[in-house]
Amino acid sequence: MSSTTIESAGSSTPSRTLRNAVIRFAGNSQDGIQSIGGFLARLAGRTAQEVMTYMTIPSTISGGPSIFQVHIGSGQVLTSGDEADVLVAFYQHSYDGHISSLRDGGICLYDSTPTSMERDAVVNLKHERGIKHIGIPFTSATVEAVGGSPRDRGKNMFVMGLICAVFNLDREKLVGIIARQFGKKDEQVLRNAMLAFDAGYAYQVGDLDKFFFEHGEAEAGHRISTDGNQMLTLGLLAAGVRYGAAYPITPWSTIMETLRTELPKYGGIYVQAEDELAAVSLTIGAAFAGHLAVTGSSGPGLSLKMEALSYASMAELPLIVINVQRGGPSTGLPTSVEQSDLMQAIYGSHGDCPRIVLAPQDVEDCFYIALEAGKLARKYSCPVIILSDQALSSRIEAFHEPDVDMHWVEPGLNLTPKDADFKPYPLERNTHHAAPGTKMLGGKYPVVTGLEHDEWGHPSGSPKMHSAMTNKRRRKLLDAAAEIHAPKVHGDQEGDVLLVGWGSTYGPIRESTDRLRAEGYKAGHLHLRHIHPLPDGIQPVLNHYKHIIVVEMNDYGAYGYGQLAMLLRARFCNPAIRSVCKTDGLAFRIKDIVTGVEKHLAGGA
């Protein structure tokens, strides 16, 4: 683990080999620290290393404290790291705010530019916990190299060069990535960036070891590194989605922005609607017209879509809805992570309106979950909601490039003429509407409706018909539950405790499970990608453990259980199901989970 990789520098050999390291860059949101993180993450992807990033941005237009944390390693990297091995502090407030996240014996690189030039140069260093402080004049050295005033950007590139030298990163590859990024702008920008980079690279750090990362084992095929929103978008394109509409909201917006510019290449159209209600309505229009379409939003926006989602269940139209969750309720914490829209996703809306809810577990999975959502929406003609979250939307991971040929779904429009016996809403089969443009050979044309209806789509208030149709719509969920597979349990297949999770907490829960096993517990991890319906076959899994702890980023609620825990208790009537919840807007750390679980195992809480 990261906490044992770097020992306090200066104590032994001048260079050491690392399996992995956590580097936290702390500065302001306009310092370009996200760029550093992005470059490092991409580099890791290209050097057969694993990477996971974590970032926070202030919920303001510009300025404000911001961090970017990169966990790079040659072994498995499942989290962005509990604590940092190296802290790079740009300001006094960055230092004060994040020195506690640096592990004992870690290294702090800080901007030591003389105060006459930079008001915030770090002072008052805390010489404790074996932390090694190394002052480097980021600001003045950058100004020296590039020229201009200290307010000019460029110190991020100086730091990039510094990190490249300290960690012996593949300079050639890194420069290639930087050139591709800045080369798009203009020559002057790239020239300045490289001047700053070279100055950082050449800077004599002095009393600090050089580190070398172990080479990762090269695997077959290419690896790519990107974030969750990007992979969801590409998954939608591969799934044959060509139409949709949305309204901007953080952290969903980047998906709609990309679709808006990408779709014309695919012959499709993405509309920025006047509001969330128009967005989902427009998407249902495209679905009625015979296409698989997508809309998306974040928490409050999903609430606004609820009436139309109820319609899509009743009218039985296929639809993909993405909810990139953020902290709630209301406008809540727009730039923080939370998993508190689960109940809304499953039960929001009026009436009994079945829908399918899926949750990707990491960035790579975003691609495949979009494909699966498309498949399920088409098959069952109902809304499929994908619950991503803020952390997943922006964090960068490296993984195997998906095989497009294998997964590509060619979009099609089915206008096969229908016979006289065509029923738009058959009780015995899945509904597949006749899209407009379809000839009705019997001469009778169908109406798609949100009123309760009979098999021919005629409005019907008959008690018998409403029961029959409600059964029919519910049955889709039962069929889907039988079709999807229960996930495999990681770790011990029976024993003391089963950790259950969903969504972006996959990595921290898995590492926690391994930690618990290392401590001698018999522990397993079950991660649910299909949340509603739950796949058949989960019940026997639960029976193999004394304690079942659901780990999720939402509140304990009135009865002491998080949202998924509540659902599992209702579903399985199992008193062994308990919760470890958290609502501070930050991703789970391993120690949060391990401590919470141990408390339950000890009979407390």
């Binding site: 992807g45 290419h222 690896r223 790519i224 590194s225 990107t226 590409l234 591969a238 044959g240 060509r242 139409y243 509409a245 990408e262 014309p264 290449k265 695919y266 012959g267 499709g268 159209i269 509309v271 609607a273 006047e274 209600l277 128009a278 967005a279 309505s281 427009l282 998407t283 249902i284 229009g285 495209a286 679905a287 009625f288 017209a289 015979g290 296409h291 379409a293 139309a308 319609y311 009218a315 490039e401 998906p402 497009v404 060619e410 099609g412 429009l413 006749a434 899209a435 407009p436 443009g437 379809t438 000839k439 009705m440 001469g443 044309y445 109406v447 798609v448 409706t449 949100g450 005629h458």
Partner: protein
Amino acid sequence: MSTESNVLTAASADAAAPAPAAPAPAAPVADKLTKKALTADHPTWCPGCGDFAVLNIFYRVLEKLQYPHENIVCVAGIGCSSRFPYFMNTHGIHFIHGRALPLATGVSLSRPDLHVFVFGGDGDGFSIGGNHLNHAARKNVKLTYIIMDNFVYGLTKKQTSPTSPIGFKSKTDPTGAIDRPINPMRQLLASGATFIARTHAAQVKHMEAMFERAIKHDGFSVVECLSECVMFYASAFDDSTPRKGGVFETIDEAQHDVTDETAAFKMAENLTPGKFGVYYQVNRPTKNALEQKWIDDTQSKMNGMTPKDVLKKRLETMR
């Protein structure tokens, strides 16, 4: 100001279809589209409702235009008039309250081969769906919207509507409505609609002419059709019904330039009884055409790359 120049015949309907290859606009079919073929269930409207006339005239206009039966789509929201799709034997969709226009936008943009008609009332169009009306108009989405305006909420049994005149007594305004009514023509003008007309359900010849011109307009066309609710506001349009002693004053297009927005605003000043006819009509590129142009321009720069290649290339840049 010519209306004939923007006539959109079935054969010349929007040019190229976007991928996924929507079928090319179908030419008129051999089977004649008759009122009989277009008739579905008997309407559930109250006897004497103005909406019957709207339905009959719509049949007649479709008979005249002879679009392929399967390419006609009727869309509606919620309300008495919004039951329209059930009474038309065409592909139809009965959607939620106020959102028929964005739904129809989705149909129109994703399927240029279809003829999209939207039906609704004053509550659906001007109140709950008011914002959508502004935006469908400004986007100039290719579709025709017929608003059956009866100045009252009928389906929910007499509440005040956004077009109810001040003083109208309803269950929600027992001492008379106090809010200033919407002026549909002015609102539509301000929103940027490219075809705006007003007609009257009791004047079937006029209604037929308005529907036909609206449908042939290449862009967002709206017809406000005064349609009396015999149950809850029977006297609403007496002032414009000659049979009941009113005056039905039509626009003389020799005197009114339909492309003159200021003149149209001026003419729209008088809410009731007001003038009937085309207030405004201009040609502006439709959203459908502009989006298609973006698609065509983008694809022409792709040197024959298929969408699958585009995705592969994008993934390559992430290596």
